[in-house]
Every structure is written in structure tokens, then in C-alpha cells.
Symmetry: C2
Subunit: 237 residues, 2 copies
DNA sequence: ACAAAAGTGTTGATAATACACCCATGT
DNA sequence: ACATGGGTGTATTATCAACACTTTTGT
């Protein structure tokens, strides 16, 4: 049943044990109204016309993280600030070409910096995460798992900043949480909590050209956060 | 750079994209004194004499979870009650045989039921997780990530029961948390919290043959837990 | 002066923590 | 009767949740 244990009895690897491995990347961005995912239209049967996640076979000389960044770079000209591995999908018949095991990642990007060239990449589209359905392959399942994982991580780790511009207001931040998690937060309580975490740098700047009282702008204090994290940092929203 | 996108331009998969994929399983058990991991001694260079995790190449016709259960079944004659995928390790040169991408799992077992036959499996050993070091391959790293993930999950999900016998006392449960998480808990507060979760069934039984007041025995209420989980259940220790 | 979003404190309820003694059994 | 671990309640503190009005800017 176990012919040769890969870890203890090291011999050659039979070709029948070699399979294709891909990464599928749930690239998400936030545009003040909703959380969106970047999808691509398939153009070959059996999934012609359907949307799918951006995925790619892993090359022999790269790690999975590198493959994910390569896909992002290729399609959008930029890499992601934040990547998280979510889950491996390994059903035997999940891909029509034969066995392809895929590792799902989600990545967070600043959506405004990810404008793509409509002529070359006209089959790319940002779609509201609440309207995603009927994707190619098993991508509905992969997408839902990644979305769920993002929501989970957003509550436990200060990663929301990767979806916002470098300078943002407290109301923008609160809005992000409300939109992504689908809940309403009390403004005063939210500010008290954020404040107590000491993760923001007050830029002493305000919004420009808004038809109301301009908001103060902040940025995320990555340095202070990594210090705190080393000392065991707890976060919860 | 991206010759043919696996998801949109479906053609054949080139052999150069096929690699070996394995699972490595951090099998953990608890024996009232410490948390232990099941390791196996390697008998081939370059790792001869070192211990490694139990791992195995994934077969063409099975999922990763199935591969993990197959390994467990083979070495111990039983499957695991609880499995969790942790992380994929994909450094290009992590395995001397060539490229092997591995997916790490941890699994929880009732250690008393996993006694193995010392003649056939004499190179298997339970080792205290705090004494693990110098494993073969990149297994130190894999092990530490899995241990950390277990500790995390133990605080968030009621999975500790998988490490205990079906009938257990509240002190045993508390001890498990203390040993695995490395902290001290207040007995009265611990009991109040566990009680408020309504996850235990009072068996109206007591310990036998102990030289002190016998403890009441409980079992974990899987059914009630899965109901609660569907309604969004929060847990924290 | 008005519209529109920014900003700000207090109170009551709930949950977390700290702490010390009596109880049941076997020897 | 003694040794061993099992079992129980209360008071204090910290955290969370609910709630409404004033401020600043552009038009």
C-alpha cells in the first residue's frame, strides 16, 4: 500500500506520481462601495463565456508565492501587498485537462492602482463579491472559501489597510469593515478601539476639495505593528 | 511569460509542469503529561538517523485528505478524528530527490489507541513537542508551523476533545489546555467558561479506582456543537 | 443659512479575573 | 486520620454596547 515512504526510504520518484500543480488567486480590491474580485472570461470550451479566477501552472523553478506574484504582475503590472494561502483543492476530476491540484490564495490590492489596459486585457473584470456566481471549474467553491478566510483574517489581523490608499480617514476605514464584513459599526466605539491599538500614524493632513468638513488623514504604522506582533499582539473587530 | 493560462486557454499540460506532490502529517497525541508528535526514523542518506514527519507521495487517484488518512492507516492501523491542512511548502530544493511540493497537515489522535507494533514499526516514536529538533528535510519548520496552528485552533475551536478519551473529567480537559498552550488556568473560571458553552454531556459517571475523590465524567456533544456552529458559534479560551 | 459628513463622552450591562475552603475516596 | 486531587461562590475590575449633539467646510 505504501511502496516507498518519501521521507524515510529515499529512492527515485516515479513519473506516475507527478501531477500538474497550479495556483488560483482571488484578487480583491475595495472601491468605497463594495469589495470586488478580479475575474477573467474563459474563451475555450467547456467553460467558454464563464468567468474564472486568475490561475496558472507553477513553474519548475518557482515557489507557489512566486507563481501568484507572477500572475498578478502579468495581468496587472503590479504585485500584491498582501497574500495569504487558503486551501488546496485536490479532487481528482476538478480540471478537464487531467489532474491539476491547485492551491488557492487570496490577495489584497489597492484597486485604483490596478487599472488595466482595456485593449489587451479586455476580458478582465472587477465583480462585486456578493454577485459572484457560476464560475468555471470549481471556482465558486474556491472563491467562497477565500472570501470567508479574508473576512476571518480581517477580524483578527490588521490587513484591511492593504485595500485602502496609503492615506485614509477613519470613516473610510470603518466603511471598509462594514462593507466587507456586512455589518454596522458604531462610529465612536470603532474609533475608540482603533485608537487603543496604536496602529495609526496621524499625518496632520486633511482631505482636500470635499464639500463638507474635511477628515483627518492617517496611515498604517507597519513598523510599530511588526514590533507589537513579535510581542504577541491581539486584535479583534 | 505566461504561455497558456491554465484557466482560460485550456490545452494540454506539458510534462515539465508536472511535479511530485506529497503530504506531511504532524500527528499529535496527548498523554496527560505532554503533547507528543509521532515521528519516524530515516534510514537512508543524507538524513540517516534523523527523525522525520510521516509523509507520502499523493497517488493519482486520491485527494490530499485521503492521502493523509492512508498514511495514518498504514502506520498505525487507524484514521484520525481530526485533520487540518496547514500550509504548502514549495521551496525548489527542499527535497534531495528533486522537486517535491508538500502540503502539511496536523492531525489529532487519542494516543492510547495508537499503540503500534514494536517489531514492524520500531522506528516510530512519540516525542514531546517541546523536545523536537533537528528533523530531516525542512521538517523542523513544517512541524513548528503545524504546532502553532494547532495552538491557535485549540483556542478558537473545540477540537481538544479529539486528544482525550471519549469520557474525560474537567480537570483532564483543563490540563490539556494548560499543557498544550503552556499556561495556567484558574479552575473555577475554567469550569464556568466550559459550562457556559454547553458543549459537554454529563454522563453521570465517575472515575473508578482512584485514590481520592473520583471526578465526574463528561463527553463532548458533537451534535449540539454542529448545530451551534451553523448558527455562528464563538469560542475562545 | 444650509447641506453633508466629521468629530466627540458618558452610562449601564456584561464578561473576565482573582481568590480559599470543604468534599469524597483509598490507604 | 491522613493524603490526594475534586469540587464550589463572591466581589472587583475591565471591557463592550448603546446612544445624540456640535463642528467644519463648500455652496
Amino acid at each position: 500500500m505504501i511502496a516507498e515512504n518519501i521521507n524515510t526510504h529515499i529512492s527515485a520518484i516515479d513519473d506516475k506520481h507527478k501531477v500538474a500543480i497550479s495556483v488560483d488567486s482571488v484578487i480583491m480590491g475595495y472601491d468605497e462601495e463594495s469589495l470586488k474580485v478580479l475575474l477573467i472570461e474563459c474563451n475555450t470550451p467547456p467553460y467558454e463565456g464563464k468567468y474564472s479566477l486568475l490561475g496558472e501552472l507553477v513553474n519548475p523553478n518557482e515557489t507557489l508565492d512566486e507563481a501568484v506574484q507572477r500572475v498578478l504582475q502579468y495581468w496587472t503590472g503590479r504585485e500584491s501587498l498582501y497574500l495569504e494561502e487558503v486551501k488546496t483543492f485536490s479532487s481528482v476530476n476538478r480540471h478537464p485537462l487531467g489532474r491539476v491540484i491547485t492551491v488557492a490564495y487570496y490577495s489584497l490590492v489597492e484597486i485604483k492602482k490596478f487599472t488595466f489596459d482595456e485593449t489587451h486585457q479586455k476580458n478582465l473584470k472587477w465583480i462585486d463579491v456578493n454577485k459572484v456566481k457560476d464560475l468555471a471549474f470549481d471556482h465558486d467553491m474556491i472563491f467562497q472559501e477565500c472570501l470567508e478566510k479574508l473576512r476571518q483574517s480581517l477580524r483578527e489581523k490588521p490587513i484591511g489597510f492593504n485595500l485602502l490608499p496609503k492615506k485614509f480617514s477613519l470613516n473610510q476605514l470603518q466603511n471598509l469593515y462594514e462593507v466587507v464584513l456586512g455589518l454596522e459599526l458604531d462610529k465612536r466605539n470603532f474609533r475608540r478601539k482603533i485608537n487603543s491599538l496604536n496602529l495609526l500614524i496621524d499625518l496632520n493632513e486633511t482631505q482636500q476639495d470635499v464639500a463638507h468638513r474635511p477628515a483627518k488623514l492617517f496611515s498604517f504604522d507597519y513598523e510599530h505593528y511588526s514590533k507589537q506582533r513579535r510581542q504577541g499582539f491581539k486584535f479583534e473587530i
